[in-house]
Structures are given as structure tokens and as C-alpha cells.
């Protein structure tokens, strides 16, 4: 190999044959779409689970014969059992966090567009890229298998706190094989994410084309880059935690299980572990994970706001630094999940302050988005609607964080629906809005056709009003002290008051989830029948808009584009049109 330093590029050969081209493809664009479809499938499963959950929360004990047909164990006599509810909840959380919010914005869109936006022919390690997708795929299968094993899916929540998750079936149904599959799936997912993160970072560092300095990167690339760094450092820790939990379950070690437990009146033979250790390790991962889900959405929002306001992004450098700051701080805030866990109250105060620090770069981003709109010429495409929706949801979900980062206020609000409202707003729907915005924006590049704007706008309106109707009332449930992760609200007197609100939320959820069918229809219909798109339908500036749609196998036809300027040059005074591509050469001024 040493002698073969310079290989003359031969005629470009894209892989032929269905399997190499679409299944075990090395092409980052195919892999990106594979990830996206995996997330699309997962989000449908996740939403289906929430339909069942919302039904049980609003109308517990209702007999629905079809449920018995579908879930003979989970709903005997057509009535859902509490453990069935908890298993739905666990799987909903796990699927949504890992296979949707981590997968679609980063692995999906990042894979597809990061190389294109930096002018690279592919990811740095195409084989590794393929491998990480297929490990993710297997991980999803392992997780879903938990539904069909004896005892069903685990009931310990997506956070899987031991000892509940470590003790096995004695602690409850689903905690046997189901829980083991859950841990195994998480461990696999960690490996896949580590490989993916390594690939993203290397690509950004080493494969930028000529002229694409770090300070000329589109903000989407900044977001994917920092997200990948977070993933690289966080998933290693979760993997370690997963391995320990697996050993506790399978080998009989006691990393997380203290001595002398008595479960169901039986002495447990374990000695000397710490349940809090899991919480520390898990949240050391878990908090960066929140930013892994939301940062790409921030990048996409910046990109889209700038494009459709026809204005350069306000404060590009501040935006890039804010992304870095959020990433950095996210590693020293994990304790705010544990104020009441029994850890040292002193550290609670420290974590409270570090958490407050996250609010600053988040606020900077919001101000800069507003600054970008200021003085622009705002065009309301569906992508833009979702991006504006993202800003609105980000503010709403962000401010409720200022309650929860105070240990004193958190005493009351911890583990109530206030928390559910907070994290769904910011990590759930805000991130989902980022995914939708990205889909409407980049679909023409990926499939050479437009999504239907008409269907898209209906989809946006129902979703936007819907998510506020679902999650805003949950704040009040939290204020009323409604604990989360309850299968039903029948055993407590004070919970009688919350039932009407839950009924409202459930109905809102059904309508909103129903509206997502519009998106699915739009997506698949438009791939085949949508309006044909030009190369650069939005008159945007970044490199992906200079290549045909969909881009050829090696993106730039065996050449490398040269970049001359920053990513968001819209409405430059004196220019002949209202956008200048990043790769357009310097222009000469012609005096008339």
C-alpha cells in the first residue's frame, strides 16, 4: 500500500445492484435516509404507545374488547393492567429518546447533509457509517423483542433506575427477560452512537473543502459537530453503566444493588452496591443526551430562519459559541436530575448554579433568532412555519426549566407532570419541530420533489396548536402535585381533580397524533408524485444547493467545491440577486 500513494481517480463507479446500493450502502446519503426511515418507523410505534397510554390515563378501567384481542396479557378482559401501562411508558420513552430524537436529527439529516454542506465526497469512514446504522437497527429489534417475551416489556421507565431494574422478575413483571433485552439494546445503541459520533467529528475536522474554515460552517454543521462530541463523551459512560447493570442482572454482581434487600418478603442475596451510582452515570449521559436531541434542531432552525427571512443569521459567531457553550456546560449539570435522590445537598446547590448557566447561551440563541427575523423579509413556507414554531416551543420549554433547576422549588415539582411538560416541550416537541422543519426544507434535495405545501401547512397548524394543548395543561397538573408515571389516578382523593384535565389532554393528543398521518401521507405521496423541485428551490446559499437533486453518488462529481464566504449571505447590498452561494467566486464590481 505504501507505494500506492497517488491513485488516479478512475471513472466514477457507483455501486450497482440493489443490495449494495440500498441495503448495505456505503453512501452517506442512503445511510441518512435509512436512519430517517428507522426513526419514522420508531416514531409511529412510539406515538401508538402514547395513544394507548393517554387512553388509559383518561379512562382507566374502561373495557375495550379489541385491546384484549391485541394484548391478551396486557389487557385481560379488555382492561389494561397497570404493569402494561408502565411497560408502554418505558418503551415510549426509550424509543422516542433513542430511536427518534437521537436518530433522526443527527444520524439521519446529519449523515445526509453534513458531507454535502462541507463539500466532502462522503463521511470519513463509510464502512463504519454503514456499521453504525446496522447496529442501531439490531438494537431496535432487540428492544422491540421485549414486547413479545414472557413477562412483557420492562416497567422501570426509560431511566431504568436500579434496584427496580436490577432485581429481575421478583420486583415486577417485565423486569426479567424484558429488562435484560432493554439493557442489551441500550448497550448496542451506545456502540452504534459512538461509531457514528467518531465519524461525524472526523468528517468535520478532516474533510472540509478548501475555504471552508470553521467560522464559515453552516450552523447546522456546528450543531452536528458539537452534538457528535457530546455523543462521543456521553455514550461511553452510558455504555459502562449498561455493562454494569447487565452484569448485575446476568452474572449476579452487585454494582447497583445494596446489601440486605427484602423484595416481596424474600431476602435478596446481593451485597454492597449503590443505586445512586447508576443515577450519576445515567444522568452524566442523560443530560448531554437532551442536547444531543435538541442541538441539531437549533442548527436547522438557524439555517431556515436565515433562508426565509432572506437575511444573514444575526450574530453568527455568538451562535457558534453558544452551541459550544451549551455542549460544554451540559456535562456539569447532571445532578439537577437528582436533587431529591439522597445525594449531598451541597452538590445540589452547585448543580443548580451550573444548570442556570445553560440558560444564558440558550437565551443568546433565542435573541439571535429574533434578531435574524428583525428587518428581514419573512416568507412563510412550511419549513419556516416549523422553524418559527421551534423558537416558540423552545422559549416555552426553556423557561419552565428555571423552576426545576432550583432545588427548593424542585422539592414540590420533581417527578410531577410539571417535569413531563417541561421535557416534552423542549426535548420532545421542540426537537420534533426541528425534524419537521428539516424535512420540509431538505426534502426537495433528497427526493427532487417538493412535499405538498398545502398538506404541510394543515399538518403544521394542527400540530402546533395540538402540542400546546397537550403540554401546556400539564404544567398545571404539576402545580396540583400530580405525580408522573402513575398508571391511573384512582387511588388518591386529590387526584380526582386532575381527571378532567387528563381527559382534555388525551383528546388533544388523539387529534394531534391523527394529524401526523397527514405527514406520513404527504411524505410517501410526494416521493412519487410531488411537484418537481429545482436544484435550489429556496434560493439558499449553502453547498448542498449547488449539486443536482438528489446529489450524485460522490456528491460533487469527483471535484471539490471552493468556498469563498460565510454560509448566510442573503440580500447583500448591490448584489444582482438576493443570495450568494458559499462557493461563488469573488465578484468584480462593474462601474457603469
Amino acid at each position: 500500500m505504501t507505494e500506492a500513494v497517488h491513485v488516479e481517480p478512475v471513472v466514477h463507479q457507483a455501486p450497482q445492484g440493489f443490495i449494495r446500493k440500498y441495503i448495505f450502502s456505503l453512501d452517506h446519503k442512503v445511510i441518512g435516509i435509512q436512519y430517517y426511515l428507522l426513526a419514522l418507523f420508531s416514531v409511529m410505534v412510539g406515538m401508538l404507545l402514547s395513544v394507548l397510554m393517554r387512553f388509559n390515563l383518561a379512562w382507566p378501567g374502561t373495557e375495550v374488547p379489541i385491546l384484549e384481542t391485541l394484548f391478551p396479557v396486557g389487557a385481560p378482559g379488555g382492561i389494561m393492567t397497570p404493569e402494561f401501562y408502565l411497560s408502554l411508558m418505558t418503551m415510549h420513552g426509550t424509543i422516542m429518546v433513542f430511536f427518534v430524537l437521537t436518530t433522526a436529527p443527527q444520524s439521519g439529516f446529519g449523515n445526509y447533509f453534513l458531507p454535502l454542506q462541507i463539500g466532502a465526497p462522503d463521511m470519513a469512514f463509510p464502512t463504519l457509517n454503514m456499521l453504525s446504522f446496522w447496529i442501531t437497527f439490531v438494537s431496535l429489534l432487540v428492544l422491540l423483542a421485549a414486547f413479545v417475551v414472557t413477562g412483557g416489556a420492562p416497567i422501570s421507565g426509560w431511566t431504568g433506575y436500579p434496584p427496580l431494574s436490577a432485581l429481575g422478575e421478583i420486583a415486577g413483571p417485565g423486569l426479567g427477560t424484558g429488562q435484560t433485552l432493554w439493557v442489551a439494546s441500550i448497550a448496542l445503541f451506545c456502540v452504534a452512537s459512538l461509531l457514528g459520533a467518531l465519524n461525524f467529528i472526523t468528517t468535520t475536522i478532516d474533510l472540509r473543502t478548501k475555504g471552508m474554515s470553521m467560522m464559515r460552517l453552516p450552523l447546522t454543521v456546528w450543531a452536528w459537530f458539537v452534538t457528535a462530541i457530546l455523543a462521543l463523551l456521553a455514550f461511553g459512560v452510558l455504555l459502562a453503566a449498561g455493562v454494569l447493570l447487565l452484569l448485575d442482572r446476568v452474572v449476579g454482581t452487585s454494582f447497583f444493588i445494596p446489601a440486605g434487600l427484602v423484595v416481596s418478603d424474600q431476602m435478596i442475596n446481593h451485597k454492597g452496591g449503590s443505586p445512586l451510582l447508576w443515577q450519576h452515570l445515567f444522568w452524566f449521559f442523560g443530560h448531554p443526551e437532551v442536547y444531543i436531541a435538541i442541538l441539531p434542531g437549533m442548527g436547522v432552525t438557524s439555517q431556515i430562519l436565515s433562508t426565509f427571512a432572506r437575511k444573514p443569521i444575526f450574530g453568527y459567531r455568538a451562535m457558534a459559541y453558544a452551541i459550544m457553550a451549551i455542549g460544554l456546560v451540559s456535562f456539569i449539570v447532571w445532578g439537577h436530575h437528582m436533587f431529591l435522590s439522597g445525594m449531598s445537598p451541597y452538590s445540589a446547590m452547585v448543580f443548580s448554579l451550573t444548570t442556570t448557566a445553560v440558560a444564558v447561551p440558550s437565551a443568546i440563541k433565542t435573541f439571535n433568532w429574533l434578531g435574524t427575523l428583525w428587518g428581514g423579509r419573512v416568507r412563510f413556507t412550511t419549513a419556516m412555519l416549523f422553524a418559527i414554531g421551534f423558537v416558540s416551543l423552545f422559549v416555552t420549554g426553556g423557561v419552565s426549566g428555571l423552576f426545576l433547576n432550583q432545588p427548593s422549588v424542585d422539592i414540590y415539582l420533581h417527578d410531577t407532570y410539571f417535569v413531563v411538560a417541561h421535557f416534552h416541550m423542549i426535548m420532545g416537541v421542540a426537537a420534533i419541530f426541528g425534524i419537521f422543519a428539516a424535512t420540509y426544507y431538505w426534502f426537495p434535495k433528497m427526493f427532487a420533489r417538493h412535499l405538498s405545501e398545502r398538506l404541510g401547512k394543515i399538518h403544521f397548524w394542527i400540530t402546533f396548536v395540538g402540542v400546546y394543548s397537550i403540554f401546556m395543561p400539564m404544567h398545571f397538573l404539576g402545580v396540583m402535585g400530580n405525580p408522573r408515571r402513575y398508571a391511573e389516578f384512582t387511588a388518591f382523593e386529590f387526584l380526582a381533580d386532575v381527571v378532567p384535565i387528563h381527559e382534555f389532554i388525551s383528546i388533544a393528543a388523539f387529534v394531534t397524533i391523527g394529524a401526523q398521518l397527514l405527514f406520513a401521507v404527504n411524505f410517501f405521496w410526494s416521493i412519487a408524485r410531488g411537484k418537481i423541485a429545482e436544484i435550489n428551490p429556496w434560493s439558499a446559499t449553502t453547498l448542498e444547493w449547488t449539486v443536482p437533486s438528489p446529489p450524485p453518488h460522490d456528491n460533487f462529481g469527483g471535484r471539490a467545491p471552493v468556498v469563498h464566504r460565510g454560509p448566510y449571505e442573503y440580500s447583500v447590498p448591490g448584489a444582482s440577486r438576493d443570495f450568494i452561494l458559499q462557493s461563488e467566486p469573488e465578484m468584480k464590481v462593474v462601474h457603469q
Binding site: P82, L86, I155, S156, P163, L164, A171, G172, G260, L261, V263, S264, K311, P312, I313, F314, G315, R317, L340, M349, S352, T356, V360, I364, F367, N368, L370, G371, W374, G376, V378, I388, V395, T396, V399, L402, F403, Q406, P407, S408, V409, I411, Y412, H414, D415, F464, V465, F476, L477, V479, G481, P483, R485, Y486, T490, F492, Y570, S571, V572, P573
Partner: protein, 260 residues
């Protein structure tokens, strides 16, 4: 246009619901509760203003700067002055709010329970609370997990051979005297639970292998529900008990009835 209106309507409805307090906290019944509620209100006012201004501003921007004939874009890459300004402003604002609340936490968690507090031990298990009073001698007797036997009614593993254990009272519900500091020692014998009483504004995880102390003073007579706030298994939603806040005399009667 419609989007701006929608954002405004959502903002106004939300604000109205918060101001109207249609769904709100239960009346406070503990000494530290009012301060905690005040801190909540302070945070609500600050975040509420941020929320309202940001949403109204967003709506205004998209209406005023919508694309229409004759609109010219103000080409700008931003302003460092503004960046510094709003960085400082948010830093000062948010940190002041958070620092204002640290005192409450410190008084509850950094200081020990006042001397002479009534000690009560709570042991969580799937899916019930076991409440232990030290009895007449004021001392908790020895316990051992190996002696736990639910079917024989020894839920916390009391060691009957220990003299101090003879008069310990283990009951499924709780009572405390009003206006007297109480220290709770939270334990669990199986998985993690969390002890939550809304009216008293207390919540704390009960972690197996640890004994976590918290303290409070109940200030209002009444019966309040104890809920579990940490997922503990299939019966989590029905892990209920009650705490009665009684006058000193009633409390002694209550305990006496149960020690025989």
C-alpha cells in the same frame, strides 16, 4: 399573520390560566411552605415576563417583517453590543432568581433538624409505607433486614430481643403534632420510593441502603395524603398513605391507641 395571532392567543390563554390559578397548589400546611411558594411565584413572574415578551415579540416580528412588495432587507450580521447586553442581562436575571431560592434549600437540607424534633422512621416497600415511632422510651430499637417477615407483620425487621424495640410502634399511617419540628428518617427495603406530601411541600427519595433525613414543621391541622413519587413497580400509582396533623393531645391519644 395567522401564525402570529395563534402565538399571541396561546400566550394570552396561558397567562390567563396562570393568573387565574384555576388549577393550583393545595393550601400550604408547613412552616417552610410559604417561602417555597413565594420562590415559585417569583420564578413564575420572571419566567412569565420572559415568556410573554419573547412570544409577543416573535409574533410581532413575523407580522411586521413579512414578505410584501417594497420590503427591503436590512443587511446585517449582528451587533456585538447587543450580544454582550443580552448575555449580561440574562445572566444577571436568571442567577438572581436562582440565588434567591438557595436559602430555602439550605435551611431545609444543610441544617440538621432542630433539637428536640420528633423522630419518625419511614420505610418504603412495594407498595406501602411503614411508619415507625420510637415509643415511650424515645429510642428506636434495633432492626435487621434478616428479621423482616411481612406475613408475620414484622415489616421493618424489629429485633424483639432488644429492649428499646419492645415499645416501638410500626403502623401504616402517620400522625404528627402540629407546630412541632419533625425529623423523618427515610428508608426503603426493596426499591427506590419517594415520600411526597403536597400540602407540607416535602418530597424526598427513600433509597435502599441509605437513611435519608428530612425535617419539617406542620402548621395546619388536617389529614393529607402521602404519595410515592418515584417509580417503584406496578403498584406505584396506589402506594398511598395519610398523614394526620393533630393537636398535641390528639397526637398522644393517637399514638397511645396504637402502642397497645
Amino acid at each position: 399573520m395567522i401564525l402570529a395571532l395563534t402565538i399571541w392567543v396561546i400566550t394570552l390563554v396561558t397567562t390567563a390560566l396562570f393568573i387565574g390559578r384555576y388549577w393550583w397548589f393545595p393550601a400550604v400546611a408547613s412552616a417552610h411552605g410559604p417561602a417555597l411558594d413565594q420562590q415559585f411565584m417569583l420564578t413564575l413572574v420572571v419566567t412569565g415576563l420572559v415568556f410573554i415578551l419573547a412570544q409577543l415579540g416573535l409574533g410581532y416580528l413575523i407580522v411586521h417583517f413579512r414578505d410584501r412588495p417594497g420590503r427591503h432587507v436590512r443587511y446585517s450580521h449582528g451587533s456585538n453590543k447587543l450580544e454582550i447586553l443580552w448575555t449580561l442581562a440574562t445572566t444577571v436575571l436568571f442567577f438572581s432568581v436562582v440565588l434567591a431560592g438557595q436559602d430555602i434549600w439550605a435551611s431545609l437540607n444543610l441544617q440538621n433538624a432542630p433539637a428536640g424534633s420528633l423522630q419518625i422512621e419511614i420505610t418504603g416497600q412495594q407498595f406501602q409505607w411503614n411508619v415507625r415511632y420510637p415509643g415511650a422510651d424515645g429510642k428506636f430499637g434495633k432492626t435487621s433486614n434478616t428479621l423482616i417477615n411481612d406475613s408475620a407483620g414484622n415489616f421493618v425487621g424489629l429485633d424483639e430481643r432488644d429492649a428499646a424495640a419492645q415499645d416501638d410502634v410500626v403502623v401504616p399511617t402517620m400522625a404528627v403534632p402540629v407546630n412541632r419540628p419533625v425529623e423523618l428518617l427515610l428508608r426503603s427495603k426493596d426499591v427506590t420510593h419517594s415520600f411526597f406530601v403536597r400540602e407540607l411541600r416535602i418530597k424526598q427519595d427513600a433509597v435502599p441502603g441509605m437513611t435519608v433525613p428530612i425535617h419539617f414543621t406542620a402548621t395546619k391541622l388536617g389529614t393529607y395524603e402521602i404519595a410515592c413519587a418515584e417509580l417503584c413497580g406496578l403498584g406505584h400509582h396506589r402506594m398511598r398513605s395519610v398523614i394526620e396533623v393533630l393537636s398535641e393531645a390528639d397526637y398522644h391519644n393517637w399514638l397511645k391507641e396504637r402502642s397497645d
